[in-house]
């Protein structure tokens, strides 16, 4: 896994040149709400002309972002940011633990499964942190050109 601080969350909007390509979702860490992250990922991908296989890849990859960040018994919020570029989608997920909670997230490599899934399904992914928060991101390119 590449550990990198690119792409910066704030770069997203400027990179694509317009706020028109950014979708943000903030959910509490609750097992029954991760489905919202998956639905948003799949919808954004389908609106960006990703094909069915790529949409399913992104649905799973975004689920793995959430799973990687949140350890057993964690409490807090996950802030997801979806940036649609001309040929790709970038997704970042930041974990904001509740005060009193440990900010150190489960490392994505801890059980290895999430990392292997991300390696296989997306073009680039990485993790960075600080300030008691932890951020994980991915970038997935669309194979076919936009119609």
């Amino acid at each position: 896994m590449t550990t990198s601080d690119r792409p910066d969350a704030r770069d997203g909007a400027s990179r694509s040149g317009a706020s028109g390509d950014v979708v943000e979702l903030s959910i509490p860490v609750r097992a029954d709400l991760v489905v919202l992250a998956r639905l948003t990922a799949a919808t954004v991908a389908s609106r960006s002309s990703f094909d069915v296989e790529e949409i399913e890849d992104l649905r799973l990859a975004v689920d793995e972002l959430c799973v990687s960040l949140v350890g057993e018994g964690s409490e807090g919020r996950l802030a997801l940011r979806f940036v649609r570029g001309d040929e790709d989608i970038e997704v970042s997920c930041t974990y904001h633990p509740d005060s009193g909670q440990d900010g150190a997230a489960t490392d994505v490599t801890s059980d290895g499964l999430s990392a292997r899934i991300l390696d296989a399904l997306v073009d680039e992914h990485g993790m960075d942190g600080g300030d008691g928060r932890q951020r994980i991101w991915l970038r997935k390119r669309r194979a076919r050109s936009q119609t």
Binding site: A31, D32, V34, V35, R38, E53, E56, R59, L60, D63, E64, C66, V67, V70, D111, L113, S114, R116, I117, D119, A120, L121
Partner: protein, 113 residues
């Protein structure tokens, strides 16, 4: 989660067939884990996990299956997973789990004649 995840069980002397449907994620994995553990603890020689109607499974779900596989090994039994969906087969492949599990294409094939 009612509408997203369902699990049922069919037990005979020889085999316990656990049928799983819907999305296996952080929300449903705990239920899957406890139901699989209970099924394994029945002590039938064979445990079959029918994943044909599973529409989504992530690393959390795979982790539960890995745990079940270890439990079956410890109890001296055999476990088969029933999978045909290419996306789910691909997931087992990219995570290097193809060799850990016995994957068959139908419940009949898992249970035998």
């Amino acid at each position: 989660m009612d509408e997203l995840f369902e699990i049922s069980e069919d037990v005979s002397d020889r085999a316990c067939v656990v049928t799983v449907a819907g999305e296996v994620d952080v929300a449903s994995a705990p239920t899957l884990r406890s139901r699989l553990e209970a099924a394994i603890d029945r002590g039938t020689p064979l445990v079959v996990v029918d994943l044909l109607s599973v529409t989504f499974i992530d690393s959390t779900g795979l982790g539960v299956l890995i745990g079940a596989s270890k439990r079956v090994d410890n109890s001296g039994g055999t476990m088969h997973l029933v999978v045909t969906e290419p996306r789910i087969l691909k997931l087992f492949e990219i995570t290097g789990l193809m060799d850990l599990f016995s994957i068959v294409p139908s419940v009949e094939q898992a249970v035998g004649p």
